[in-house]
Symmetry: C2
Subunit: 336 residues, 2 copies
């Protein structure tokens, strides 16, 4: 598979023969979000051995970044209901990764307006973390900009993950991207929170983000959800166009229908630094055994909220009910 | 979503405002293959009530064609091991559909060299069937041409489903398509038997087929498998480019990783003749309850045979084993 002209234009790769393979492009960075996005299905209450197993698998597999969870405000989101990975305190991180002897970098996500970032994000020299990803809805961009600056000034790599792009109007998106382009963020992500993008729309957005990002010396990223079984397909489209920050999770574990499955992405990427075997083992032995409890993955209710460009919360509730509900009634209910 | 120039060039639609929506295009024909392709997972031994339920759901949903099974030679493939839908004798068909009072057309598949087509395919006037789809590997094209002619002369619509396109060399494919272009077939299908096509390759093949088909007054079709979670994505790509014959199955039920899920396709197509509700009900109440026994659908072993461009038979065997095998060992074994 060879790169399209758009990819070779937008990538900084030297024109070596392998660099023309889009599935090899060395600039690509794979970000594992298994524990972070998966934590949205169990209030971030993963056992330490699960987090350790994911850390070991991703590290062995040559994955570039692993995101361990959120930096949520303990004032706003009171501990007790939520597990350690909602807060990612330094002592919890180090209990899993020690001083992170691997070459894999570590990341946390910080939601705009739900993080005491000034206090809870330590100076880089005091933390095992490498990157802070700021998640913000379009209305929260001023806060996001301040969070990015704070983390950047403390010594971290940063990204902005502009949530629920399918709900943002064109005018607002253009203005938002312009503001983000002037920030310290290393990458700006197309985030398909509701899993609703088809190829044409995904391509349109990735091209738009790339135009802004490349002009500002930044990378574009893709974070997909699988409500329409298009998370991997849209991630491939993003790669073809030149996006270099790619989110995925083991077995697709993530909110609702889940994310782009890491095993598909690593199988697609032909850079020899990636190794599929540790991913396969972890999926079979650690992740899949949690499926019947965590209930992520493509299913009719998630498909229907995707079709309607809605948050999957109604579908999550429908699936978690003790008695299985009627899918036709659910379909009618979400139209109301 | 608007049609790309390629789609508007290749479709015969009048340029009404709705015709510019690719997800509406009136020329599109949806072919349900649930019982036919799904039958490859249970030796075609579906209970009558299952076949009746699928027939009723597809008919209510406005689906254009339903394929009920194969016309296999009873001399070569001895009855006993296989259920009725391996043979689709007229009396079995009529037990389900009567005289087919619905507007939905009915189809069977006939494998080249495994069908006594001269005898087993009745004259159209004696059958409730409307279409015969000839499945052939590239080496079987001479037989396929004779089968198409036989069925056409008996009064049926016909298609050719050129199997395992990912294994056909460019030269053979060009020659094969040239021969098929001169046949009586109404459509020629891109058949991704091993579920291995990525978007670029799928697009390349659909464009190639369309060029040949349109010049010959034929339609192009897409039959996808979901080994890489790309069956729906590739079907959308085919639609965008102008393919009008689209195969799908309820809940994706089909060999190995299964097919393009009908519920995704019908949800995507905005032609008001299609209705999602009967599909949702049938998936929940009739199809999903069979999953734990029939074992179709995306899973690591099917993904791995997909990556290797191989028939899923090793994966089907691995999944059907009484004791769950180690996925890493399976991965190593299929490389050998």
């Amino acid at each position: 598979m060879t790169a399209k002209s758009t990819a070779s234009k937008t990538s900084k790769s030297k024109e070596t023969p392998t660099a023309r393979w889009i599935s090899y492009r060395p600039e690509i960075k794979v970000v594992d979000c298994t524990i972070r996005d998966g934590g949205l299905m169990n209030n971030h209450q993963f056992d330490d051995q699960v987090v350790k197993a994911v850390y070991a698998a991703c590290s062995e597999a040559g994955i570039d970044y692993m995101e361990l969870g959120y930096k949520a405000s303990r004032k706003v989101i009171v501990p007790g209901e939520y597990g350690a990975w909602k807060y990612c305190r330094e002592e919890d991180l180090r209990r899993i990764v020690g001083d992170n002897p691997s070459s894999m970098k570590l990341s946390v996500m910080a939601d705009a307006e739900r993080t005491d970032y000034h206090e809870d994000i330590l100076p880089k020299k005091d933390s095992v973390l490498d990157m802070v990803r700021v998640a913000a809805y379009i209305s929260q961009i001023p806060t996001a900009l301040d969070m990015v600056k704070d983390a950047h000034d403390k010594g971290y790599e940063t990204t902005v993950n502009l949530m629920a792009v399918s709900t943002i109007s064109e005018r607002e998106l253009n203005e938002g991207l312009e503001l983000l382009a002037a920030s310290e963020a290393k990458a700006i992500y197309v985030v398909d929170s509701f899993g609703v993008l088809y190829s044409e729309k995904a391509q349109y957005l990735v091209k738009k983000y790339l135009q802004v990002c490349k002009a500002a010396g930044k990378e574009a990223g893709m974070h997909a959800h699988n409500n329409l079984q298009l998370a991997f397909a849209n991630t491939i489209e993003a790669i073809i166009l030149g996006a270099n920050f790619l989110d995925a999770t083991l077995a697709g574990l993530g909110r609702g229908a889940g994310n782009c499955p890491m095993e598909l992405l690593i199988g697609f990427l032909h850079n020899p630094k990636y190794d599929l075997l540790p991913v396969l083992r972890c999926v079979q032995n650690v992740i899949e055994p949690m499926r019947s409890k965590l209930l992520w993955g493509f299913d009719l209710p998630y498909m229907l909220t995707g079709f309607l460009n809605e948050h999957p919360r109604a579908a999550i509730k429908f699936k978690a009910a003790e008695t299985k509900g009627d899918i036709a009634e659910f379909y009618n209910s979400i139209w109301e």
